[in-house]
């Protein structure tokens, strides 16, 4: 028993180690170019349609002409049924929004939340989610939450490289961009508000 046990433990460590390391490596490999890239090396702008989407009040908004045109943006992905990543991500972004509002209201970037589960997320679900997190939404509040017809949402999400087949596999990733200057970058969403603010400052510099 004593001879066998260490081997079993070692095997388990190896299996568990790879089980944890592989997703992390995959994630890291995906993010590494972005994280390591100097601030001046920007990504090409995402290829986005000017699709008509709905905000939390059910109002139609055109993604490019009504929401994104001539703005500094922080784009995040969520779905209201998400229990793992979205709640902490939303809490972090809400804190970032609060700090930005206090520090530099005139240069505030616009936050844009895109639902990866348009079949499950209608305007009513968005409103309930916003109420749960006590978030003021709307362009004037600096945070737009959007859902829409599945086809339209799929085109938009594809532009950001987000697959829509499985909402629970959406990336924990933010796109930061300045549409006037055509500079875009990506970063992990589960960072502290200070780290996220620093990344936004690079885009706005």
């Amino acid at each position: 028993m004593k001879l066998v046990e260490p081997m079993v433990r070692a095997d388990r460590r190896r299996v568990l180690g790879w089980g944890r390391a592989l997703p992390a490596l995959a994630c890291g490999a995906w993010l590494a170019p972005t994280m390591a890239r100097p601030a001046t090396a920007w990504l090409p702008a995402p290829n986005l349609p000017d699709a008509t989407l709905q905000n939390h009040q059910g109002r139609d908004l055109r993604l490019l002409s009504d929401v994104m045109k001539d703005r500094v943006l922080l784009v995040h992905f969520f779905y209201t049924g998400c229990a793992t990543v979205c709640p902490p991500q939303t809490a972090l972004l809400r804190e970032l929004r609060r700090r930005l509002d206090v520090q530099a209201p005139a240069r505030n970037p616009l936050f844009v939340g895109l639902s990866v589960d348009p079949l499950g997320d209608g305007p009513a679900q968005l409103r309930a989610y916003l109420q749960r997190f006590d978030i003021q939404a709307g362009r004037e509040a600096g945070w737009v939450w959007l859902t829409g017809h599945p086809t339209a949402m799929a085109r938009v999400l594809r532009g950001f490289g987000v697959a829509t087949a499985a909402p629970d596999q959406h990336p924990n990733l933010l796109w930061l961009g300045d549409t006037r200057r055509e500079r875009w970058t990506r970063t992990a969403s589960l960072q502290s508000p200070e780290q996220l603010a620093a990344r936004l400052a690079e885009v706005m510099a």
Binding site: L16, T84, P88, L92, D168, S192
Partner: protein, 477 residues
Amino acid sequence: MKRTRAACLLTCAWLIAASAGFAQTNENALAAQREAGRALFHGERMFQRPVKVAGAAMPSDAAACALCHGRSGQGGLEAGVSVPWLSEGTPPSQDLARRVVQALARGQSVRGQALQPPMPRYDLTPAERDALAAFLAVLGTDAEPVRGVDARQLRIGMVLPRSGPRANAAQAAFRGLQGQFEQINRSGGLYGRQLRLVALPTDADPASQSGPWQQQLAGALAREPVLALAGSWIGDLPAPQWQWLQKQRLPLIANLGPALREPAATPGWTTSLLPSVQAQLAGSATDFDTRCVHSQRLQVALAPVSGLREAVAAALPGRTLGFNAALPASAAAATAPAGTAADTGQHVLALLPAAEVEALRQRLGPQDCLWTLAMFSGAGGAKARGPELLVLPAQATLPLAGGDPQALWESLGRLAGQLTAELLSQAGRRVQPESLVRAQLTQTAFEPAPGVKLELTRTRRHALPVLATWRKNDDNP
């Protein structure tokens, strides 16, 4: 000498009794701690102090351990984030549980690494620390507490109105469900446990007063915890109320509350026994059209029920509906010979109490078509002179619907009890709310009695089919 021996015996007896009492007290205290830890782990009880992630406050209902680590603490993978297995593969133990709770307090994993987002930081009270440690020590074992379940008993709740027009019907359904449970108990119960039905009376309407309704139900559940709700009188609930029930991990089995629409709950968490008003109308519209050829223009007489008009409009799209218009006595009533085909008369949908439908029948003639639902007006009364389509929740209820209405609801209560027992038996000995949900999702067909078929699919949430039948008139066959 004898006195000394007697004194010794008495002292020994007292010591044994005292130690047994002490052990019992300790056991009760531990059970209470485990239960408190269970409620915190699953999010049925909120943490007292704010929970933060990288300094940002989280909503209290998003901080439950089970949301990320899973119902058994098994971990998982979502959005590229790997959530660790709480027990790290070792059997649960007090030592491991203590280390996990210490890790929470220090903000470091059991291996000493700093906890990073999305793992929140908890500021546990001493009572919460003890409760979580007590629960984690038995998580996934036979000793894990399950709300409403112990070694001898399995408690199921039934929400019913304390007063109002539906109270008598709900009481009859309660009697039926209780009778069914007693019958099962006489045969030995389920997995050695006796089934106990707990009445959860409320006097608030969930559709219009969701706050008081929720408070009353939460209070009743705190006093008498139950595993699930069965045969409950929960009709149309606003979406936040469905979400609240789901957060409380309360599956609804064979709901009896007459609903206007099919519930907007997550599949598996709710099953209704009866089709909604909307489903009954939509499911019988074709039958009505076969005999009443001008039924595209329909006069609709409705009881003053909030939302009923909208439900009717949604069930019958493309028709011209005249809501609550005055219904004049048919001009043809006095002159048309009995048995004339109804193709020029009025077409009336009446969702009214029995007495009002009865009065309406007297005013309609042989050429007039009437459409009624037994759940509003029963199936008794005189026969109309023209055709009348009666919609029932199921064939099994037909013999009962014409007689004592309480007998109908008692019969439905028994059906609810049979379906509940079937799902509980499928959920297994180590039943959890989630295993009941799984049983509701996988249940397709169940025949509790010859000719009574309960069917469920992922899209159809009511177990009984819609049955439309033409009431026969002796003068107008």
